[in-house]
Every structure is written in structure tokens, then in C-alpha cells.
Amino acid sequence: MDGNNTLLKAEKVSRHFGGVRALTGVDMHVSKGEILGVIGPNGAGKSTFFNVLTGFYPPSQGEVYFGGKRITGRPVHEIAEMGITRTFQNIRLFDKMTVLQNMLVGMHTQLHTKFHQILFNRSGNIPEEINGQERAESVLDAFGLLDTARQTAGNLPYGKKRRLEIARAFISNPSLILLDEPSAGMNPYETIEMMEFIKWIRDNGPTVIVIEHNMKLIMGISDRVAVLNFGEKIADGRPAEVRANHEVIEAYLGKEDE
């Protein structure tokens, strides 16, 4: 663990809801430029972990550090502004807005239009807005979504919705992107495409943490893999090591997703 290269660190994070212990003493870190895969059976606490990392709720115990700074318990939008974005298990797009508008919202933290500008300049004349639009269009292009720019996001087919969600998380130049089951509901061909996207994303900026059920995807792209089971981390290491780990195999009991 190279201290200077650690981007995000979770220390003994626990989270319980009433009597349910969703997370217990989880230690995890991710280094800059890595792709970290997080796997575990259903209900292992993976999404809960993301929620704690991003501030949706604070941990019951433990701390989270980002770039050396303590971010435990900070509100979501502050953490987003610091450079952590995410996607969701059940896609969360702004359904009634256009694809382009979704991207512009994604850039909310990067655009600094002032109120008097809104009042006195047509949005076509505000330089921030123009630049924002251009950047949005170029990112959409990179994700193969440019032709849908003016469509309503809610009308997109499933695969494009997933891509849009990731594109929206990507456009604000985050240091860290958390992807929550990005290949859910995809066929093998789309899954391979998704793997390429994730690698492309990492190569073009942010560090990536991915939650996945699809073993092929995780083992195929992750530099490191962490395994959660019943809210505890039971393994953490290179994909090959983890795959051979007894506890991990037991946790899945051979229910490997092909």
C-alpha cells in the first residue's frame, strides 16, 4: 500500500440499520489509476458500502478518506464536488430531460454561471454554457450517444441509458468513479463493450471502483478485487489470488456467474 498513491481509503467502516449489520469493520483502499472490483453475493453490502463512501449515509463506525482528507459524513453533493461520482444499480437518469441536458447537469459543479448572467444574457451568449455544451457533445460522441443528444433520456433503450449514466458521471472530470453493476441486464456482447468502456474511462482520467456480479467482467478488467460477504471483507488482492481463495469460493458456493 503506497501511501502517496492512495486515492480513497475506508477504515473499519461499519453500518447497521436497526438490527441489521450491513457492514462490519470494512477496510478498503484504492490507488490512483486502479480499477478496483468489488464483488460478493447478493446482500453482501456492496451498494451499502458505496452509499457510505459517497455520503448518502454516514457509517455507524469508521472513517473514509479521500485524497488524504477525511470525508466521513460529509453530504453527498460536497463529496461529488470533491470529485467522486457514481452510477446506480437501478439506473437513475433525469427521465424527462434530454440526453444533452442530463450531461449538462452532470457538469453542474464545473459550470459557474452567476445569477445576473442568467437574467441578462441569453443562455446562448454565456461562454460557460457554450463551452459546457461543446464538452457535453464531445463526451457524448466518445460514448456513441451523440445522435441521441436531443432525445428525452427516458425514451432511450436500456443499454444506452446505462451508457448515458456513466457518461454523465464521467463528464465532470471526477478523480474517482464508482460504477454499481454497470453490466446488469446486458448480453455478453454488450458486456464486452462495457468492459472496454470502463478501461477507456480509467485511461482517460478517473480511478474506477466497480461493483459487479459478472465474474468475467470483474476478472477481466480489475487490477485488484475486494470481496464482501455478510458485510465483511473476506478477501482483497489480485484477481487470480482472489479467485483461488477458499473463503471466496465458499461464499459463492459455485454460483459463479458466467
Binding site: 453533493h77 461520482t85 446506480f88 437513475r92 433525469f94 447537469v105 453542474h108 454561471t113 442568467i118 443562455s123
Partner: protein, 333 residues
Amino acid sequence: MMDAMLKNKSRILLLAFALSLPMIITDEYWIRILNVFYTYAVVALSINLIVGFCGQLDMGRSAFMGLGAYCSAILSVKLGVPFALAFVLSGVFAGVTGAVLGFLCRKSTFDYLTLVTIGFNVICQVLFLNWIPVTGGVMGISRVPPPDFFGFTFDTNTRFYYLALAFLVCSYAVIRRITKSKMGRAFEAIRDDSVAAEYAGINVQYYKILNFTVGSVFTGLAGSLSVHYSQYASPFNFTLDESIYQLQMAILGGLGSLPGSLVGTFILVVFPEMSRAFYEYRLLFVGILMVVMMLYFPNGLLGNAGVGERLIGVRCRVAIRRQLKAGERNGRQ
């Protein structure tokens, strides 16, 4: 783009038409109706901003119209404040109240916010009716002076017409700019998915409060203008029923569509005047309208895939496509 130029041309035409109406219409009665329409149109726009663009279901909006109205009436009648100042202060008063209410409710769920707005409406109404030393109680406040700008008094229907129209045009322009800006997008994002909005870096609580405040400023200003027109502040104009009726103006035209608010207000203000039967049954009609619209045209008349688009839009688009295709063919030859 052809689209934008067409829109601008039609806007200018519409404005010219509106400006010329007082010279065409001879019956003062209809000028009065239009004056009321213009004032309520701004209320509908503010409701659209709050409910349609940000998804905050406010069912007690008329309370804010009342706050603006009474504030203006009290300032001008009891304190001799000139209209221009009273007008502005009423907007500020309504806005600040909106900010306070918005702040208190910043963490409230959708339903609780609605309940709070209803409760606030009831509280305001009770105050309007019973706080006699301040609001005049059941008798209200009378002899509110007509609007007055640097000596020029808008004391006839026709004069007020131009003031009201100017007020509507300015309010529309400002609200439109807001909806097309980063602020407007933040509002819409909150409406569509407040969790995702938060994750995009939007301080949802702050923007909800901002939305409520800005909307309330416009509602308050409209209230002020209306009371200087009728020259009388009555507690019976700001009831829960009124709030629902105003809400329906925004819904009918289509939440999220600014021109829709104009259309919806027009229909609900003018139709009751045109037909006695409509007037008597207007609440029943509004009720039926609400149910039918939610079932079949949830986006209103001018919203996305709304009644308008379905009836007119499809034909227009087909026609335009045919034109373009014909143009292409000619071009190739």
C-alpha cells in the same frame, strides 16, 4: 435554426396582437377579464416553476398571492407607501416568507411538503379573516390606490392593461431565462431524481429553497398588482379552493411548459366568464378535467406528448418532413 426564428416571429406577432387589443375591443368588460388573466398568468407561471419544473407540489399557492396582496394593501393604505415601492416590497415579503417556509421544509418528503403548504394556506386564511387590526378581517382592506408610477396613474382598465401586459411579459422572460439556465436544469434534475441530482453535485436543499423563493416572489408581485387593480384586498380570494384552481391553470396547460401556463390560465379565467353554466359548474368541471387529464393527458395541453402535440404536432411534423423531403429532391435535380 428555422425553429428559433419561427418562435421569435410568432412571439413578436403575439405581442403586437396583444398590444393592439385595447384598441380593437370596445367592451371594457373584456379588457377587465384580460387584466385578470394577465395577473393570474404570472401566478400560474410561478406555480409551473415550483410544481412543474422542480416537482414541489405546492397546493397552497394562493396564500402567497394573499401575502403579496395584503402586504401591498397595508403598505399603501395604512402607511402611505407609493405603489412602486409597495409592489417591490410585496414581492420581497412573499419571497422571504417562501424562503423561510422552504428552509423549514428543506428535508421534508414530497407529501409532507404538500401538507405543510396546505396548512400554511389555512393559517394565512385564518389570519386574513381574523386579524382585524391588521387585515381588516372579513371586510378586508378597501380603497387600495391604483398603480402609480412617477405621477402617472394606471386608473383605467386600458391603462392597467398595458401595465399588466408588461408585467406578464417581463415575468415570462425572466422565468424563461431561469428555466433554460443552469438553475433551471438543477430544478428539473431535482424533480426527476433528487438522489441523482445530489450526486451530480447539486445542493438539493439549497435549490429547493431557491426555487420556492423565486416562485414566491412572482406570486407575491402578482398578488400586489391584483390588489391595486381591484383596489380591495379580500380574505376570500386566497382560499384553498383558489389554490387548487390556480394549480389547475398550470396543470391544464402542461407542467413544464411555460406557454402552456398562459393557455391554461386563459381557459380557466375566460371560459367561466363566457358561459354562465361554465361558471356555476366550474369547480365540478375542474375536478372532472383533473381526473381526465391525469388519465389521458398528464402532460397537459402543451407539454411533451400533450394534447396539443398529439393533435397538432404530429400533423405539423409530418407536413414539415414532407416539405423537407420535397426540398431535397428538388435540390438534387
